[in-house]
Symmetry: C2
Subunit: 208 residues, 2 copies
DNA sequence: CGCCCCATTGAATAAACTCAAGTCCCGTGG
DNA sequence: CCACGGGACTTGAGTTTATTCAATGGGGCG
């Protein structure tokens, strides 16, 4: 089997580095349907990528944190839109058509980022398809716990609506689920956006 | 695929081509947790990739069709397992450490496949998170319609359980939803696994 | 021909949603 | 500094949707 038959897409694997760009909360970084001629590396802040349906339903695909590289798309348009959750700084990289051999080892890194995004999307799909509200909430809390300086103390930068749209739930269910976890003694709500995890082990047991 | 290796030994993303392998229905192509030292190109048949939870719940990530290239993973282990749905033939490619410059433009193709898989996973997540049973079913039928020789006649190779696990539903709900679509005159069930779409337009309207 | 698995159908239950009210922050302005 | 206003969050009651459990039908293969 000739390898050239694998596929004829994505001839672009080189790019140029742009300046650092700053975004205010809720500001759009790139839009659904926009030309996907560049991708993004997040420097600081949190950015959400999401599908928006005409009827107002929204599915948040991912919350990106500093270091994340995203915004590659299959095709020429962005499938998702990206918006800053809080104050965010990014570097934009513009695609260029250049031979791989000239790019000095960069494509593998990109490939790695693409793979990480793929892996995340797959995990997310499992969460959305086969989990109850509590299980979803527990998984969400653990995700953020994993990247907090203090694993037991989470500072949420996003609203309940954002969480709901990420987990495929309604705001009300998110709220109720959090109070349920609180009443079960697994978490402690210091404020609406600051949560102490009192039993990470118990949260873990919920998903596997 | 072993991403760590790739990032560590930057500049090495080549692989060797293996023989054609054949799989019987329900036979495992690779397993969850297995070493991800190779990836797959599907030649004929259909293969499903899925997460299996200890309690029996299963989420099918994708149904792959001939031409699809998959089985890259972020990390050293397979996150998903792959099983033949019907008789399937694949070519396995084993990752090797070789300079990019010697690979004659292959990584871009792989990147393209990764991007396609990513795009699919994202669409799938939206479907799982923000759709009703009918909407999911309609999307599923249209997916298969798009790659059938006759767009209006679908031959399903997978069971109702497979469909349910792909759409995040139960078998019963899948069945009920199909009868509902039948009663609404949108589809015609020639047999359990052969469906005629009588109104593709109406099915499309359901999702956007 | 008959069996067995797959699929369908039914009835009751549970989970999450909708609609509606009420509360808590938090920033603003007096 | 405190009162106020408004958005975000929580809580409640009732409804919808999909699930669970259970039984029946049907088609393919030995």
């Amino acid at each position: 089997m000739n390898l050239t038959t694998i596929n004829a897409s994505a001839g672009r694997v080189s790019f140029t580095t742009g300046p650092v760009l700053y975004f205010a909360p809720d500001q759009e970084v790139y839009g659904q349907g926009g030309t996907a001629d560049s991708f993004i590396k997040l420097i600081s802040g949190v950015i959400r990528t999401c599908h928006c349906l005409h009827d107002g339903r929204r599915q948040i695909d991912a919350f990106h944190v500093p270091g994340d590289v995203f915004g590659f798309e299959f095709g020429t348009e962005h499938n998702l839109s990206a918006e800053a959750v809080n104050e965010a700084a990014v570097i934009s990289y513009r695609w260029r058509g250049m031979p791989v051999a000239n790019t000095d080892g960069l494509p593998e890194r990109l490939f790695g980022h693409a793979m990480r995004n793929l892996s995340r999307a797959q995990d997310h799909a499992r969460l959305l398809g086969r989990s109850s509200a509590v299980e979803k909430m527990a998984a969400f809390l653990l995700e953020w716990s994993a990247q907090s300086p203090d694993r037991k103390l989470i500072n949420l930068v996003m609203s309940r609506q954002d969480i709901a749209d990420y987990l495929g739930l309604t705001v009300e269910t998110v709220s109720r689920t959090l109070t349920q976890l609180k009443q079960e003694g697994l978490i402690h709500l210091l404020s609406a956006r600051q949560i102490r995890l009192t039993s990470i082990a118990a949260l873990r047991e919920m998903n596997d």
